[in-house]
Symmetry: C2
Subunit: 482 residues, 2 copies
């Protein structure tokens, strides 16, 4: 357990959902249902004067009317009702209110901005900390807290701090498909009280969190953020994507979370100076999450690639080099070893190893990967798995047969290993075909094996290069004292 | 019909498959089966002294033994048997031999290179044109020719020239999933006789082909290639990806198709000077194929975006700007129109239009797109469709309901329109869930509607920008006379 003040806030013993409702269209349902589905252990109190019961739980007209203590309140009522609700919360001794409620300063309207200031004033007066407003709040599966019922129930060691709720939900879901699970994720919106610095400081100290992901539209205090980030990166990797980088994105960020995005060109430099990792897109953030979550440190840029065929091998070499990797030639000793093993293409095969040229049927791609794994010339390996080919005339290949030829479990014991499994924009016809089902099973097995996978060689290569450069540039705590 | 000499070669009346076999593992089966499956109308002759019949067709010991005339021969025999086969072909009056047969100069072995020269000498002496060696040959679905039985049977107006067979098969299959179909595709390997210039010249003249895709590892004659390319781009768009760009890719290209890849840094400039479009990756080539195939010309960089929510809209703005698009603010007249229509967020909504902030339930994303489509301020629109959200508690949304809210058919009548439908790395669990099935149905419906789709906003934006710049820079035939 951390001694950070947020620790208590993120472990409530009782939760009231204000504006709770049985209608599955609204968030009054959308916040209550996940608490039940995720098995929140404490008391759950729906609050809504229109109902005596919501989703089988006794409902109360206001927070004041709840019999027991209330630690945590989720507000799904309209903005104009928030001041009264906060006064009820103060009377009840509520510690924190998560305001899903939006339509404050992000609307750009003066009266809404005034109401937001009034909300903050009332919260401070009542001793209530605020998450939000205009956000999805907390996903903490180990404690039974969630804002979407389709998020994974599995806990993990990634932490997410996201100014956008939509982006938070997307990252949590898509990371789950890539083998990355979360200790906690916080969507924090307009951040009028608790802000990105508080959350980052918490995650840096949280023993349940080993890698931190951030989606930020704007920071309240640039100097404090830089200092907190620099401290955080001493103890764990922090991967950041900035929303609102150009003119139009800055406008969009203002109308989304009332953020002053600005000075976009400074962000990559600032993030690098603080020792964090900058992601260029949401896809890249998720690729980096998979890399940092699943891979050991990689010491250098020298990569061995196997599994592509023909032109795919040529393009793999190109894309790896363009991404900043060093696709080294096969070492002479390795060729000699192949020759001694009777492999007829010992003089012809290269790196990437194009296995489509082999004559020896029992020399499989996994054999080549295992040979490559033995040599110090490679810092890590990439296996191009792709997806099985769909020949109408041929029998289906089982997932075990298809994946078995790669010997990934053996290879990863010797060298850091990334896999490429294609995403394809499937239509109705592909949905029913066995090769795409096998591809899905392959991904699930890779997660079980702890091997990160990427939809293209380019994305694998970039995710590896940024990981390598993070570990090469990592500071020790002593560096901060200089 | 084109009068180009290749026209006759690509329309054979009879085909012999030398090395034909009943065993589905080998290409002797793999070339014969698609001819039957694609319904090749002419005579098909399996050739193999070991069999009297292959796949229900009478087999012959050699090409000489075939009773009728043979226009086209596919060779799947080992390299050492090719000289005798070519002498048989010459005696029979064969016009063209496609040599799938490999292990010639690409092995880097001297005797194999010598054999390749002997093969060329014998072909010239016998009056036989060669496709290859070391290639998959011709996919011409309208004529019943194919090298993979899982390629689409549908013909279209894209033409593909690919030095790699693996890349050719991949492009044909994946393009089919994106609504792009082919007149013909040619995989040409080592190109010792017919080469990239001959094929490009043919496709430029071919009335069945409207856009040309190329994967090239090396050209035989740089000046001739530039001249042929420059002529081709006068009449139709040509999109090129270069394999073998860096040191390791150049090595890989040499051992793949014996190509002298070299001078990689010159390629983007050369391609641009010739008026063609340069693709940075195979994914981008396919995105560009979808754009050029399905979109009308787009006159400028000003884009309107709708359909993202919250942070996804902010990131959409960023990624469009980073890709070189101009995400213009909503015009005042448009806001006034929304206000007159009673839309309460008329002053707040922007471009990208984040529909998650709307209060008016019957003002859907398709209504916003239709309003945007009316204004000259936008050169084109991007609809972010994503995929439907998977709430356990809620009923499934039908594909028609989900896609219907976008009104794409109406919108595309007024403005060029691109869609974003996410690819996700599905695992076993997702394979069975309704929202991913709906996503697959959405893609199929988009193809029916003729709306190109892309898995990320970044890829849509780059594909649009390169299309715009192609049309802005397009030369007229008169330009070449200056």
């Amino acid at each position: 357990m951390s001694t950070h003040p947020l620790e208590e806030i993120l472990h409530p013993r009782s939760i009231a959902v204000v504006g709770a409702s049985d209608s599955p269209d609204g968030r009054g349902y959308g916040f209550l249902a996940p608490l039940l589905e995720f098995g929140f252990k404490g008391e759950i109190y729906p609050v809504n004067p229109k109902y005596s019961e919501v989703l089988g739980k006794k409902a109360y007209p206001s927070v004041r009317d709840i019999p027991g203590p209330v630690d945590y309140v989720i507000s799904a009522v309209p903005a104009r009702l928030v001041p009264q609700m906060l006064e009820d919360c103060a009377a009840k001794g509520v510690k924190v209110a998560h305001l899903y409620t939006a339509r404050f300063s992000e609307t750009g309207r003066q009266h809404a901005a005034e109401l937001e200031r009034e909300v903050l004033r009332l919260a401070k007066k009542g001793g209530i900390r605020l998450i939000g407003p205009n956000c999805m709040g907390v996903y903490h599966p180990g404690h039974g807290l969630a804002f979407d019922d389709d998020a994974p129930k599995t806990s993990g060691t990634a932490g997410l701090i996201s100014q956008s709720g939509n982006v938070a939900g997307d990252i949590v879901r898509v990371c789950g498909m890539r083998g990355v699970y979360f200790s906690k994720a916080i969507s924090y919106g307009n951040a009028i009280d608790l802000n990105e610095c508080d959350y980052l400081d918490y995650f840096a100290q949280d023993p349940e969190t080993e890698v931190i992901l951030m989606y930020i539209e704007g920071v309240k205090d640039g100097q404090r953020f830089f200092d907190v980030l620099r401290q955080a990166t001493l103890v764990k990797p922090v991967i950041i994507i900035k929303g609102g980088r150009g003119k139009s994105g800055t406008r969009a960020a203002a109308s989304h979370t009332a953020s002053l995005a600005g000075s976009a060109e400074l962000w990559p430099t600032m993030v690098a100076q603080a020792g964090a990792v900058y992601a260029e897109s949401l896809e890249e953030l998720i690729d980096l999450a998979a890399s940092f979550y699943l891979l050991p440190p990689i010491k250098g840029h020298r990569v061995g690639v196997a599994g592509g065929a023909g032109g795919a091998s040529v393009l793999a070499a190109d894309q790896c080099e363009l991404a900043g990797l060093d696709v080294v030639p096969l070492p002479t000793e390795l060729r000699e070893e192949l020759k001694r093993g009777g492999i007829s293409i010992w003089d012809w095969i290269g790196n990437p190893a194009d296995m489509s040229i082999r004559e020896d049927r029992d020399f499989e791609v996994g054999d080549m990967l295992q040979v490559m794994a033995k040599y110090q010339d490679f810092d890590f390996l990439i296996a191009i798995i792709g997806s099985p080919h769909h020949h109408h005339g041929q029998p289906e290949i089982t997932t075990d047969t298809f994946l078995g030829q790669y010997r990934l479990n053996e290879v990863k014991k010797t060298k850091p290993l990334l896999a490429v499994v294609y995403d394809r924009s499937l239509g109705q016809d592909e949905w029913d075909s066995w090769n795409w089902r096998v591809t899905c099973e392959v991904r699930t097995k890779l997660i079980d094996l702890g091997v990160p996978f990427y939809p293209t060689i380019t994305r694998a290569a970039i995710a590896a290069r940024k990981l390598i450069e993070y570990y090469q540039g990592r500071r020790s705590p002593a560096d901060n004292l200089r």
